[in-house]
Symmetry: D2
Subunit: 253 residues, 4 copies
Amino acid sequence: LNPDYTKRIGNFGFLELEESWGDEATIINTARISTTNKRVNSLDAFTDKERTLLHYLLAHNHGTPFETVHFRFRVVAPIFVLRQWMRHRICSFNEFSQRYRMPITAFYVPDQEARTVDGFEVLSQESVERYCELVESMHRFYHDEYQQVCTRIEAAEQAGLVEKTAGSRNPYRARARELLRNAMPVSTYSDLYWTINFRALMNFFELRRKANAQYEIRAYADAAYEMFCKKMPLLGETMNRVLEERAKMGEQA
Amino acid sequence: LNPDYTKRIGNFGFLELEESWGDEATIINTARISTTNKRVNSLDAFTDKERTLLHYLLAHNHGTPFETVHFRFRVVAPIFVLRQWMRHRICSFNEFSQRYRMPITAFYVPDQEARTVDGFEVLSQESVERYCELVESMHRFYHDEYQQVCTRIEAAEQAGLVEKTAGSRNPYRARARELLRNAMPVSTYSDLYWTINFRALMNFFELRRKANAQYEIRAYADAAYEMFCKKMPLLGETMNRVLEERAKMGEQA
Amino acid sequence: LNPDYTKRIGNFGFLELEESWGDEATIINTARISTTNKRVNSLDAFTDKERTLLHYLLAHNHGTPFETVHFRFRVVAPIFVLRQWMRHRICSFNEFSQRYRMPITAFYVPDQEARTVDGFEVLSQESVERYCELVESMHRFYHDEYQQVCTRIEAAEQAGLVEKTAGSRNPYRARARELLRNAMPVSTYSDLYWTINFRALMNFFELRRKANAQYEIRAYADAAYEMFCKKMPLLGETMNRVLEERAKMGEQA
Amino acid sequence: LNPDYTKRIGNFGFLELEESWGDEATIINTARISTTNKRVNSLDAFTDKERTLLHYLLAHNHGTPFETVHFRFRVVAPIFVLRQWMRHRICSFNEFSQRYRMPITAFYVPDQEARTVDGFEVLSQESVERYCELVESMHRFYHDEYQQVCTRIEAAEQAGLVEKTAGSRNPYRARARELLRNAMPVSTYSDLYWTINFRALMNFFELRRKANAQYEIRAYADAAYEMFCKKMPLLGETMNRVLEERAKMGEQA
Ligand SMILES: Cc1cc2nc3c(=O)[nH]c(=O)nc-3n(C[C@H](O)[C@H](O)[C@H](O)COP(=O)(O)OP(=O)(O)OC[C@H]3O[C@@H](n4cnc5c(N)ncnc54)[C@H](O)[C@@H]3O)c2cc1C
Ligand SMILES: Cc1cc2nc3c(=O)[nH]c(=O)nc-3n(C[C@H](O)[C@H](O)[C@H](O)COP(=O)(O)OP(=O)(O)OC[C@H]3O[C@@H](n4cnc5c(N)ncnc54)[C@H](O)[C@@H]3O)c2cc1C
Ligand SMILES: Cc1cc2nc3c(=O)[nH]c(=O)nc-3n(C[C@H](O)[C@H](O)[C@H](O)COP(=O)(O)OP(=O)(O)OC[C@H]3O[C@@H](n4cnc5c(N)ncnc54)[C@H](O)[C@@H]3O)c2cc1C
Ligand SMILES: Cc1cc2nc3c(=O)[nH]c(=O)nc-3n(C[C@H](O)[C@H](O)[C@H](O)COP(=O)(O)OP(=O)(O)OC[C@H]3O[C@@H](n4cnc5c(N)ncnc54)[C@H](O)[C@@H]3O)c2cc1C
């Protein structure tokens, strides 16, 4: 695991920038098709001309060249975070399924910082402990029940009452997982791949790094932002400049 | 509530086809711009020519005319159903937020039919009762804690320790709701508006009415399908014919 | 033709706002599902609260409620304008096809205003006349050749050399149209339906009413904008306010 | 130029598969997150299990894993071909602009094969020659006029009648290009980058390699298809199998 592109978030969360495709040179080259046949071979060949153009394009909403750079992240996050995340449609998700597998037996536990707003402890340590006990009882319920169902299914199979099907697609066990999932809280961790181009990623950063985004998704958005900035420092700076320019407007509005 | 366009689903779920825009005549008229200036005034003016064209367009994947007909549904469904639903990106969602409000105090309880696969009772009535108790304890936890936090916030406000902010945006209460949501199970009901065009709706029907879709989302997809068929019977029949033609292929594959 | 929602543009162009779906009340109601069960019955029931919320949502990029209002326009425009227009992807087009029909025998002729930039006549009247003659010769070429091909096809049919196929799908005539289209200039008018939601329409207005958009598409964007503002004055004003707020930022950048 | 990934098409057209991102292993790995933690390191590690899964996913419309593989093509094609191409929305285009540059002085000339349908010569060699003369006169018109405008602008600049602006953004020359473009036929070549994921590319192949797609776009779609199959033979074969299975259905319909 490359520490530049992986990060633990919260008590069990994880983010990794697995791969990216294209860079600032791709943006400049695809943009320049409009105006000239001049191409740059790589980012190293950038002069002020290219840097100025990069900012100009982004600031003036010439968005399509920014769709040529892509990223794939691996995300382990609680379901309530993913619920917000997956509202973003201009990207692709591939997620762990509780239909085909048992839930991940880990759930989000807010730490001191997460529980505190402006010095005021919103949720106490004792409350969190009660919460943990409850969620653990949910997990125990799931596992006990699943165990029992599996035993009953086996018995029924042996008695010839139901047909025997191997693997994760056994319809009775599959249905048991679907039914028992009902008890799982939205703090349960899930796991996914996220593939997104830079234009849409910037929209994600704008919406999910803002103060009004929820603390927990902000932590992921900030981590993704940092990895992105390490991977493409020039594009990162350019984006920051544009976002700051836009933010000034926000204050006036 | 018009019984043709509303339906209760499961123990607390609900679906309503609130409004639609356009109909088979819109499809024919927008499609015909390619080939002729002939327009039909309304569905009543349809002859076999129009009906044949409608089927031809759909069967041969001339999809864009089918994007001119839109629907808006109101959906009350458990979060785990909505998690599957909201993976569909070519449409718009507006959802109830547990950040701004307390959760809906209703959760999905699978009935006899839902618990049974091919005559085999996957989850027993007793298990469901244990599940209900557990979920209720989660809800109690949420409400008790929230009560306490609110009392503590008020005290702190009165003591001048934190600033007083009115309304649902009070940052301490807002954070309390965010933190306590962690305990809510994915069976908790939520509430949303769904706006979608026919082309994307048909894709939804294809994916979510199939046998391999989960029972619970299938119930919603089937209900949406029935409402749609009542609203636009000719388009419904045409779609069925095309889906059957495609299904035949599926069997052979 | 309702003069409020139709407009002639250039020498042969035309724009019509045929229909819309939803209004400011739809936006408020779908947005409010997040926070409250309060709904307004119609725009008439709006108070300052609703107006403030409408502006707040738009200014802070809460975009999805604005996807619930839709528009369908009929557009007659030159191909070079449509080439720019059809780059917008979050919407649906249904266009006249030169594969199935002969081209519209009308082409764009820039008038005095279109030919002049800041008082400087970029293209003279005489140049425009030469242009018209050339384009007319293209049209004559198309029609003469098409006539001849049709005669040759008929002869071949009668001689039993090719099979007789009726209608616009006759493969030889169809191919003749495809081949002769090559000579048609991008100033040739075409005809289409455009279905788009308000969020995407606002993006179109932002990009295509700006000074750096081409004069000819600006004329259409401005006309669409005026029709939209007549149809939904409150949303129009709200949008203007937000765009002005953003423009201020643009100047600083 | 790598002959495997470049091709001349028609008299001046060109296609290049510049780069791709991800491969069959990416698809399997992102898909498997649903069901297992097992990943394959690369395509070389594929067994029948992976090949079967690949086909299963594609045949059963599990589409999102196929959105993790991307392609960037360079395309030189006539405008009428690009007009059809750019109707595909789930992808990104960056195109040469006649607003910023003079048109490419090359236009499509249908060869013998293109002019012939089932042995019948739809357009004769003489007709094509007349067409070429006409188009050439269009190009001459453009260049003569542009020359004259530029001379007039220079004169006006020197006389202090208009302000001097350097570069391609000179507003008078820019407007001249916009106005003169009107005379350019849709057979004029243009130049673009096309970035698309595999799911959307497959949709493009389905629609644009079919017999009812126009001959000229089919040539590009076929070339893109061949390059794709060379790059990812296993995915190519899998797609072919699925398309054949679907085609069988088409015949019955
Ligand atoms: C602080 C915050 C609070 C929120 N609260 C709520 C809430 O209470 N309830 C709720 O339901 N949601 C809420 N959301 C989610 C929000 O409505 C969006 O669904 C989410 O932020 C994704 O944003 P997006 O649509 O810009 O992104 P994407 O879906 O990724 O779209 C990217 C861009 O593509 C364009 N686009 C994509 N699809 C369409 C389309 N169909 N029509 C027009 N344009 C389109 C838009 O320009 C958009 O900016 C909240 C989001 C934030 C950040
Ligand atoms: C039975 C079943 C099991 C599933 N299991 C899992 C699972 O285990 N894990 C998991 O993550 N998901 C799972 N899914 C969800 C699935 O992967 C899709 O996200 C979901 O079905 C939405 O389908 P869609 O992409 O066709 O719809 P939409 O997102 O509404 O898209 C509609 C159409 O638009 C096109 N389209 C839209 N966006 C793109 C794009 N970015 N690139 C290319 N084409 C695009 C496609 O043609 C698509 O058919 C499952 C779905 C079903 C039905
Ligand atoms: C003045 C001007 C000059 C131009 N010059 C050129 C030129 O020289 N060459 C050229 O090729 N084009 C040019 N364009 C076209 C431009 O690049 C866009 O294709 C066009 O303006 C459509 O804008 P859009 O992508 O915002 O709109 P839509 O495609 O309708 O998208 C709406 C919104 O959805 C989101 N979105 C949709 N699809 C994606 C995606 N795949 N990835 C990320 N986000 C997405 C974005 O937020 C976007 O704003 C020019 C446009 C203008 C206004
Ligand atoms: C033989 C042929 C003849 C044609 N004739 C004409 C004609 O006469 N007139 C004309 O106007 N066009 C014509 N077209 C163009 C056609 O209508 C489509 O615009 C084009 O083929 C792009 O296809 P698409 O929408 O599937 O692709 P994309 O736009 O790339 O979309 C990919 C997939 O995403 C989904 N999708 C994307 N956007 C939406 C949306 N807004 N709503 C619902 N689903 C969406 C769909 O599942 C779609 O299959 C023709 C096309 C062909 C192949």
